[in-house]
């Protein structure tokens, strides 16, 4: 087998492939931003998919169980961003916890979340007294235990 044409062919395939690959990355990479960084992008930050990271601002969570409309505010200590999402909040969702929401800034500067990720901690954290499930849901457990 002649080596040179084979090498040229392989090189060409590799180049096209690398071009496709990094082109795909450029278009599909989702930036990870804090509310502050997102706001700093101004109009450039509107409508593009991003991952917004921060804490759930205490007292900001409003959930309507009927319409499944979930609203809360993500803050990084400097800036905050109102977030709107549809669906039930994850069970462990609570004030002050770290969240990452994927979505985009829509009209009116509200972040429309398509995905809500609660940062799982690797370490165990036992529930605080009064936060234990058997305390919180004791009416439910008592009702159903004969």
């Amino acid at each position: 087998m002649k080596r040179a044409p084979v090498l040229w062919g392989a090189g060409a395939i590799l180049a096209v492939f690398a071009w496709l690959l990094f082109g795909g990355l450029q278009e599909n990479v989702v930036f990870f931003l804090t509310p502050q960084e997102l706001l700093a992008k101004g109009a450039d930050g509107v409508g593009v998919p991003v991952r917004l990271g921060g804490q759930v601002k205490p007292g900001s969570v409003v959930w309507d169980a009927e319409t499944l409309d979930l609203r809360f505010t993500v803050t990084d200590g400097a800036q905050e961003m109102p977030v709107r999402s549809t669906g039930a909040p994850p069970q462990m969702f609570r004030d002050g916890m770290g969240v990452i929401v994927e979505g985009r800034v829509g009209g009116g500067g509200v972040f429309q979340a398509s995905e809500l990720m609660v940062k799982h901690s690797n370490e165990y954290r036992a529930p605080k007294p009064g936060e234990e499930a058997h305390e919180k849901y004791k009416t439910l457990i008592k009702q159903s235990t004969p």
């Binding site: 804090t34 502050q36 990084d76 400097a78 770290g98």
Partner: protein
């Protein structure tokens, strides 16, 4: 054994291993935060209130943060509608005068306000010794991660945010922070305070 080829091959592995080694310096779960210690975001803003005496800059000039490298820069965000800003106004103006002959620069940034209201406020407060600039679209405020006004950032000669103060700032805090950032102390008996009027 072809050692030349082997060496070339091994060299290609170096960036890969370096990349992983770099990974150890990162915490992927960390959320970046504009806390002190980070480089201050650069800005170039137009002066609308000139300031007084040697500290003054002509209206319409732009002040660029990067040009002030080597100086301790005090960036104070304020607004005419802000009540707490009145409390710190005298402290800022006087401290700026005290440090006039040291490598320092005070800048007021008008936040979410109109220039003429800002000028009228300065007049009503008995003047401002240092220049103030306008921040169209609050872009600089966003860069700095402004929480609310008043808020004061002290940038060290290397351009890093050394200190961030929420709420009205006092002359004592300003002096201690600026002194700790200035390159060398002045000879005794020549404290900057002496030059205050």
């Amino acid at each position: 054994m072809n050692w030349g080829r082997a060496t070339v091959a091994v060299l290609t592995a170096v960036p890969v291993i370096a990349l992983f080694a770099f990974g150890f310096t990162r915490d992927p779960g960390e959320i970046p935060s504009p806390l002190p210690g980070n480089p201050a975001p650069d800005f170039s803003l137009a002066v609308f209130a000139p300031g007084e005496g040697t500290l003054s800059r002509s209206v319409g000039d732009s002040i660029r943060l990067r040009d002030l490298a080597g100086k301790v820069v005090v960036v104070n965000f304020w607004a005419s509608w802000c009540v707490a800003c009145r409390d710190e106004h005298v402290a800022l103006s006087e401290t700026a005068r005290e440090y006039a002959d040291r490598p320092t620069q005070f800048i007021g940034v008008l936040y979410n306000d109109r220039q003429n209201l800002g000028l009228r406020w300065i007049e009503g407060m008995g003047g401002q010794s240092y220049p103030s600039v306008t921040d169209r679209g609050s872009l600089t405020a966003i860069d700095f991660g402004l929480y609310g006004v008043p808020e004061t950032f002290i940038v060290d000669p290397a351009g890093r945010i050394a200190y961030k103060h929420l709420g009205p700032i006092s002359a004592r805090v300003l002096r201690s922070k600026i002194d700790s950032l200035l390159p060398a102390a002045m000879p005794t008996g020549m404290t900057p305070r002496d030059s205050a009027p």
